[in-house]
Symmetry: C2
Subunit: 224 residues, 2 copies
């Protein structure tokens, strides 16, 4: 996938940033190193001041790109879901069988990211870890409704809608196509978290993947 993706720009809702970080070298360093730093110390301890030190730049310069660290998280998560969406569309487009298509789509949204290949300044493995550990914090806020109106979550919602449509193609009468789609995507992040921190309440492990679990779950749900 490398050659294709490296020429593509992942598109993030414009209102999330003050100045497009893809438009400058400093911007790309902000994105690249924020991923490394959030992965290292966690989003709660992450500050623009610490990031400034890491990239040899100034706190105030970072504030010209993002008005808060919360907006930066929204940027990273939107970028991540847009990247997953691209993979989903690309890797299912040539599959004629709707069930195969759905199984492939579930694989794409539930698998562990194991390679950091597609974009030079972005470590996709660590970004995936950030999504597992921090994604919920981007919407579990008192501002969620106004931010949703601003379009900050469109990419995530569109991804879920795509999965839903694949399910409805197989069984238009299934009553919970949206709910199972949102459960797969959120649930997969949760299972990945559990296998790292609460092994006693998951069956997933190095050898048993969330992918298999959610594929079986979905097929059984919609085919009966």
């Amino acid at each position: 996938m490398k050659s294709l993706l490296s020429t593509i720009k992942i598109s993030v809702p414009e209102k999330i940033f003050l100045k497009d970080p893809e438009s400058s070298d400093l911007g790309k360093r902000i994105i690249g190193h924020s991923i490394l730093l959030i992965d290292e110390i966690g989003f709660d301890s992450f500050t623009f001041k610490k990031l400034g030190t890491k990239i040899g730049s100034n706190e105030s310069s970072i504030y010209r790109y993002f008005e808060s660290k919360h907006k930066l998280l929204l940027y990273l998560t939107s970028w991540y879901w847009a990247w997953i969406e691209y993979q989903l569309v690309f890797s299912t487009s040539n599959l004629p069988n709707p069930t195969e298509k759905l199984l492939k789509a579930i694989e794409v949204v539930t698998r562990t990211i194991k390679e950091d290949n597609d974009f030079l300044h972005i470590n996709e493995i660590k970004l995936n870890q950030i999504i597992i550990n921090e994604y919920s914090k981007s919407y579990l806020t008192k501002e969620v409704d106004s931010e949703n109106k601003e379009g900050y979550f469109v990419v995530y919602k569109r991804l879920i809608t795509r999965l839903r449509d694949m399910i409805l193609t197989i069984n238009a009468d299934y009553k919970y196509a949206s709910s199972i789609s949102s459960t797969i995507i959120e649930g997969a992040l949760h299972q990945h978290f559990l296998k790292e921190h609460f092994t006693s309440i998951t069956d997933c492990s190095e050898t048993v993947t969330p992918t298999k679990f959610f594929q079986e779950l979905t097929i059984n749900a919609i085919k009966s």
Copy 2:
């Protein structure tokens, strides 16, 4: 359920608090009003200073019960899950049919709390809202592994284990009994959140409950 529960003390892991809030009037006011205040302004904006003002007490007095607001959240969530666990055990104990038992258990862990009856100083409806909006924040931290070792999440894990055992009673060969149990409990909170804030990616609503969705999902998963 009122008469029975009001005489019972919900038991929370002792290390979570410095001084048992159930042991004094001030302690109960801390718990009672923290639920109201967190529900009102959200956990992120919640501080012990604001809580002190609300209950006509001092910030420093609250610190004698909990060493941080994070610990207070752990207390509230443990209390909540212990209360749910009690309901689960109580309301399934006299059901002889394993499938009926499981369906009842799923109902208990996925339903909306609509009544505030059981404990005088605790508003169970608002506490349920806090669990929906803030629970993830209690474990999505860099300290999760050490806090897990301290036993701060035992109640939650035990609840999931109980559900898992009910599933295994019906089908001992089902490979994902733990994963589906954790998915039901976390997923139900997520569906409740979605129906309040992201209606386009859920089928749940005033009339369609997460309970029905997860009951069907589970039965289809384990019976095939």
